[in-house]
């Protein structure tokens, strides 16, 4: 068929120049049937029984097989079916000639409802003619995706006006679902300038009078190029079609252009849809684990909960699920993330410059968004894995307006434990589940309501006498309103809770029930003001009330445990924020944000007063001061600057710089080297000051080959004050005088992050390398407040070299292979500097902290992904993933510890996944 290519090009040219009309009058009726045939075979069959002749490039048609029976059908019926779910469009020319095109539609009229409520209608449709500006059909062209171009004329020319530019506004929606598409970049070609749609799909752009080429691009959608001839203000809506090509071609994408275009540094976007090919551990698709393969985001080791972003502590990350905080987004001590992959749309991680609207944590914001349910059609997705199963349903409530998303996930690990041939484990239980519900309602053109609820729970009982539970709860309600072309706003109400509980039911007189919880409620108003093309303001106000019960213990079963109830803590954290995206010139973009946060610890409470300038301990304790209900104990304020800039060195090369400072008023209390679910959160008070950090970053960003390759090199330097550590052996749980155990010190982190990402083509993935250091210092005139002689020493997660490679190779339409390689410097640990004997028993002496490192970590995972066949009108689309985690069987040490066994100290090393772990997961969408 290749020989027909030339003929085809000729035909197209002819088509473009000549007048034509759609010849539908004399449509031939066809009776034909296909059984599992390739598209090429089907077309030949049609050609052999009818007068229709097809013009196409054979390669386009792929390997999809097709079945169907037709009697007295029209050619369009058959072709619609045949090319459904493909990128092929067709056009009927002169009744019997059928031209097949890839991606681009040859328009001869506008789709219905294209201009929804357009105040100023474009001129008569005859003027809207399909125009191609580039040679679309050359097979030699490397770029696979071809963008259709359309021309729109906006507004009537007003001879009396001398305005030089006009405003175009409108919505971008999904062709299939009508759902708004956010983050679509709308760029004026040749200028590199433009805008993006907000989360309602709305955009506004100022265009100079006359002809403009607008390029629309969005992840997961076929882009489009549009010629807009503008004579006056007007509106224009765009429909984008989901690009199937993208589904498995792009693993992860931070909006290709935004790499070089945005002003912010250190922003990472992960789209859940794009990570499904990445090898899994125990069958779990885990968005947060994927995040750790990107530069700057690490955890202390596999199986450790918590993330260390750019050398920050694990408590310095703000996890937001649809605006509500999640305190512990992990299950099973960190092996699994608490985020359901099937309901999550994506996550944006701000590790460099944090937008001014967010605050309260030093290092990063993980902004997780739940998918909006499809409001036009019922849909679902289910997955069956070796450890968990999950189900997500999208339920339309009111056609095209309101829909509900329900997702749940649960383990059957209890069953696994029970089937083990080990007495100790047989009587144990370990299970978890999480549920997400999201309701979205489009109230009108300008209003949208979203409500999300989340609950996760973990349960463990490994010894017969204790049960340990922890749970997260989060709920948010959000109302978005578009006031007018320039103003929009959102009101958000969010509530979150984290709690844990230990029930101990032993043999003696000390049975107890121990509990901890923290609750926060936030109200936030966020406004957007598109002042002009040069200035876009975001501003708002937020206030948050914390309530914490730092710990209580009560006797059960007639035990004589003394009930202890550490006095509850309350505090109010509020902020006002404003930011401006200021487009100074075509090349220079400034983003200036300012946030002013205040934190007030509230009564009623008793606060210990200690002698000034001395370590806080029993000896320096002066008095306990009482504060009445709602009386301000202490107020801290913090001006926070979020400044960044981007300068284009050339069209695809930019340099960005940013400065950022943050305040954190809430701290985890932990004396473990890694995060643990019994860690509690402590609010700042009279004795514990807020943590502060500053970060400077500078980066170079380059896109190559039409955004096929993204390259970034970013360096940062960060300092922190008042970070928390604890005295050796401190008891933190149920401690009424916690400030006596707390040390506050300084931190310093710096690093260089390199990322190369290829997001298109059969081979795609990314390579990341980070060199970074994370150091901390606890210096004081008093030895009890000093660690390592007051010198800087590596933090528990200081891993200088961190390399990861994620690659996905598409073998055929249905089969793809993925691999994932990670290498990291071993983390620092504290090891003994000598042994000694006391009371007939051997012990070890620990001295300077983190002087030793465990062996380096490396791991290779591979997976084979099999897509169910692409049969049309099939009930469900299925997807198999076969993964082997740690193929090399590398015994990566997780910790080294020293245990006294029978009077003698022995050294042990533990690892979590010491052998290759194969898993198979089955997913299906319906």
């Amino acid at each position: 068929m290749m020989r027909e290519t030339l003929k085809l090009i000729g035909l197209i040219l002819l088509l473009l120049i000549s007048q034509y009309s759609k010849a539908q009058e004399i449509e031939e009726k066809i009776t034909i049937s296909f059984t599992d045939e390739l598209a090429t075979e089907a077309l030949l069959k049609i050609e052999s029984t009818t007068n229709y002749r097809f013009y196409y490039v054979e390669d386009w048609l792929g390997e999809n097989r097709f079945s169907g029976t037709y009697s007295n059908a029209t050619i369009t019926d058959i072709l619609d079916d045949l090319f459904n779910e493909t990128v092929i469009n067709y056009y009927l020319l002169n009744g019997t000639k059928v031209i097949l095109t890839r991606n681009n539609i040859i328009y001869d009229q506008l789709p219905e409802g294209f201009f929804e409520e357009a105040p100023v209608l474009p001129e008569e449709s005859e003027d809207i003619s399909p125009v191609t500006t580039n040679p679309v059909f050359t097979t030699a062209q490397k770029r696979k995706e071809v963008i259709p171009t359309r021309t729109f004329r906006i507004g009537k020319e007003d001879g009396n006006s001398n305005k030089k530019s006009f405003k175009l506004k409108g919505f971008v929606t999904d062709n299939d679902t009508n759902a708004p598409i956010d983050n679509v970049s709308i760029i004026r070609k040749g200028t590199g300038r433009g805008t993006t749609t907000d989360d309602k799909g709305y955009y506004e752009i100022i265009l100079p009078a006359g002809e403009n080429m607008l390029e629309l691009r969005s992840l997961g959608f076929t882009g489009s190029e549009n010629r807009v001839v503008i004579y006056n203000d007007g509106s224009l809506n765009f429909l984008l079609t989901e690009s199937l090509e993208q589904l498995d071609a792009v693993l992860i994408d931070a909006k290709a252009e935004s790499n070089v275009e945005d002003a912010t540094t250190g922003t990472t976007v992960i789209d859940v849809k794009k990570i499904k090919n990445i090898p899994l551990v125990l069958g779990e698709r885990d968005i947060l684990k994927v995040a750790t393969t990107l530069p700057g985001i690490a955890n202390a080791g596999e199986g450790s909960a918590g993330f260390n972003v750019r050398g920050g502590n694990a408590d310095q990350n703000l996890f937001l699920l649809d605006d509500a905080v999640i305190y512990n987004p992990s299950h099973f001590f960190g092996i699994f993330s608490g985020i359901n992959p099937f309901t999550t749309g994506g996550v944006t991680i701000y590790k460099g410059n944090i937008p001014a609207e967010y605050g309260g944590r030093l290092s990063s914001v993980f902004d997780l968004t739940t998918k909006d349910a499809n409001a036009s059609e019922f849909a679902g997705e289910a997955s069956i894995g070796p450890v968990t199963s999950s189900l997500a349903l999208e339920i339309p409530i009111e056609k095209d307006k309101a829909a509900l998303l329900v997702g749940g996930r649960s383990t059957y690990s209890d069953w696994i434990l029970r089937s083990l041939d080990d007495e100790a484990l047989k009587n144990s239980q370990a299970n978890f589940y999480d549920i997400v519900v999201k309701y979205n309602h489009k109230l009108g053109e300008d209003d949208q309501l979203k409500a999300t609820g989340y609950y996760s729970k973990d349960n463990f009982s490994i010894t017969s006498d204790s049960i340990f539970k922890y749970s997260n709860r989060a709920a948010s309600l959000r109302w978005d309103h578009q006031f007018n072309d320039k103003h929009n706003g959102s009101v958000i109400l969010a509530n979150s809770q984290y709690k844990f509980n230990i029930d101990f039911d032993g043999d003696a007189n000390n049975d107890f029930d121990l509990g901890y919880d923290i609750t926060e409620t936030e109200l936030k108003l966020k406004m957007g003001y598109n002042h002009s093309e040069a200035h876009k303001f975001d501003y708002g106000i937020s206030t948050k009330l914390y309530n914490s019960n730092p710990g209580s213990i009560s006797p059960i079963n007639n035990s004589i445990v003394v009930p202890v109830d550490i006095a509850s803590e309350r505090a109010l954290e509020s902020a006002i924020f404003i930011s401006d995206e200021f487009t100074v010139s075509d090349r220079l973009l400034l983003s200036a944000g300012f946030r002013f946060s205040t934190f007030t610890a509230l009564g009623s409470a008793f606060q210990n007063i200690y002698a000034d300038g001395l370590p806080k301990n029993e000896g320096t304790f002066i008095e306990s001061q009482e504060f009445g209900n709602n009386e301000a104990i202490k107020t801290y304020t913090g001006p926070e600057f979020r400044l960044s800039s981007r300068y284009f060195l050339d069209e695809a090369l930019s340099v960005k710089a940013s400065y950022n400072n943050t305040y954190q008023y809430i701290h985890t209390l932990t004396n473990n080297t890694t995060i643990s679910p019994t860690d509690t959160w402590k609010l700042s008070d009279l004795n514990i000051e807020p943590q502060r950090a500053q970060q400077y970053s500078l980066g170079l960003y380059k896109n190559l080959k039409e955004n096929e390759f993204e390259l970034s090199l970013e360096g940062y330097y960060k300092t922190a004050e008042n970070i928390l550590d604890f005295k050796t052996g401190a008891q933190l749980l149920l401690n009424e005088n916690i400030e006596r155990e707390v040390l506050q010190g300084e931190g310093q982190a710096y690093g260089v992050e390199f990322l190369l990402r290829k997001s298109k083509g059969r081979l795609n993935g990314w390579f990341g390398y980070t060199y970074s250091r994370s150091l901390i210092k606890f210096e004081s005139d008093f030895s009890e407040e000093t660690i390592n002689n007051g010198d800087y020493f590596p933090s528990n997660f200081d891993k200088p070299h961190d390399l990861s490679l994620v690659a996905n190779y598409k073998l055929t339409q249905r089969f793809s292979l993925s691999a994932n390689f990670v290498y990291q410097t071993g983390r620092p640990v504290t090891v003994p500097v000598g042994n000694f004997v006391i009371n007939n028993s051997e012990f070890v002496l620990y001295s300077d902290r983190n002087e030793f490192r465990i062996p380096d970590y490396y791991r290779l995972d591979i997976s084979l992904n099999v897509e169910g066949n692409h049969k049309i009108k099939k009930l469900a689309h299925s997807f198999w993933n076969l993964s082997i985690y740690n193929v090399l069987g590398r015994n990566n040490p997780y910790s080294v510890f020293f245990v006294n066994e029978d009077g003698q100290v022995k050294a042990f090393q533990s690892s979590i996944f010491a052998i290759p772990i194969p898993t198979i997961t089955y997913n299906f969408q319906f």
Partner: protein, 406 residues
């Protein structure tokens, strides 16, 4: 709330190892930069005796044991006078006079080492006078469904001021050699071709012996989080029924030390840093000081706690049959297989056999004549490992002074 952490960590440890293919393995470790620190064991009690203070230095992980600190000057000063300690064996300093710690007085320990460093303790007082309460043995199945005996302590302090307890025990048990014979086989001539042996009657007790072991872990208990100072069913020792030491008659002496809060937290830190760790979260280890510090160099690390502690003790006895009527005896420490080592290897080796060398090395014990005829492949007697015929391998053939039968 130490016990909460312990529980939590324990179950973590179990949890995941077998489920997820994780593993914990012993590794060889070497101390790279030994930090030499003085280790002081100074527990002075209310007992009237010559008290001992042990001084040593830290040693490398791979080394055999502590290095005694010799030639130091050790004195204890109180309002009632000065007590001198002299070194009567390497690193062991014994008070020159017999005394008991008195309540209500401050005592300070002062040490000067041979290298010119001097150390002193904070003033310390004798703890509350609370005697050990009930000590009893109970048959109990543990968490992992194993049968055995638990030794429990109940202690009650109505004043509520004791609160912190440390226990030590000394267990003594009767061992009966299961394959004891009245005769010993002795080597008369170990030279080939004689290789002669002879049966002679045993001259001393080799069947029933008494062994004594002392505790080698820290056993700490507290009532600090309880409404009353009542330690109840506190397990100081656990022996499973597969352990031969409880096979006949067993006695345990439990010494209860009432500790100060500071001493207790020092010892519980020691304990915490030497316990099993969880796979997922490890307590941050580090140095923690006791109540002794260097006077010459404040950066100097000193290990140990100077305590004046009220001690009391109790002893109980039990027979296996009392606790486990009708239950099979625990297996003996050795399976006691019988075998017939060759006496004479004959030509062409021209050497005596294993029987002679093993007898000379005191490794085997006579059981009976071999019913098979002697050859160069089998010896003339059936023998058993020495421990099966001679209990002195495990203990003393003299009953301890305190020992009472039934």
């Amino acid at each position: 709330m130490k016990h909460i952490n312990t529980i939590y960590r324990l179950f973590l440890l179990f949890a995941i190892i077998s489920v997820l293919g994780g593993c914990t393995e012993e590794i060889s470790f070497k101390t790279e930069n030994l930090e030499s620190a003085l280790v002081i064991e100074a527990t002075i009690t209310n007992e009237i005796k010559n008290h001992e203070i042990l001084l040593s230095r830290t040693y490398k992980f791979e080394a055999d044991g502590p290095i005694p600190e010799e030639n130091a000057t050790v004195v204890m000063v109180s309002e009632s006078g000065t007590f001198n300690f002299t070194e009567n064996e390497s690193g062991k300093y014994v008070s020159t006079q017999s005394f008991s710690a008195q309540p209500g007085l401050d005592y300070v320990l002062k040490i000067s080492t041979a290298n010119g460093e001097s150390y002193s303790s904070k003033p310390t007082r004798l703890t509350t006078t609370t005697d050990i309460g009930d000590l009893y043995a109970e048959r109990r199945t543990n968490d992992t469904e194993e049968d055995g005996v638990s030794i429990f302590v109940d202690t009650y302090d109505p004043t509520g001021t004791s609160q912190y307890y440390r226990f030590e025990y000394e267990e003594s048990y009767k061992v009966v050699a299961p394959k004891w014979r009245a005769n010993d086989l002795v080597v008369i001539d170990p030279e080939w071709p004689a290789c002669s042996v002879e049966l002679v009657p045993k001259t001393d007790e080799r069947r029933v012996c008494f062994a004594t072991d002392t505790s080698n872990t820290l056993i700490l208990g507290t009532t600090a989080n309880l409404e009353e100072d009542r330690l109840s069913r506190f397990e100081v020792r656990r022996v499973n029924t597969d352990n031969y030491i409880i096979g006949h008659r067993y006695s345990i002496l439990v010494r209860q030390y009432v500790q100060s809060n500071e001493a207790f937290s020092y010892f519980s830190n020691l304990q915490e840093f030497s316990e099993s760790e969880s796979l997922f979260s490890q307590v941050q280890p580090g140095f923690f000081s006791g109540n002794i510090s260097s006077e010459t160099n404040s950066e100097d690390k000193v290990i140990g706690f100077f305590e004046l502690t009220y001690v009391s003790e109790k002893r109980i006895f039990f027979n296996y049959n009392d606790l486990f009527p009708g239950v099979d005896q625990p297996p003996y420490v050795s399976p006691c297989f019988e075998f017939a080592p060759v006496r004479d290897q004959g030509h062409p080796t021209d050497e005596c056999g294993l029987l002679i060398t093993a007898l000379l090395n005191n490794e085997i014990s006579y059981w009976m004549e071999n019913p098979e005829p002697e050859s160069i492949e089998t010896g003339p007697y059936l023998m058993v490992p020495i421990v099966c015929g001679d209990c002195t391998e495990l203990g003393s053939n003299v009953a301890p002074d305190f020992w009472v039968e039934e």
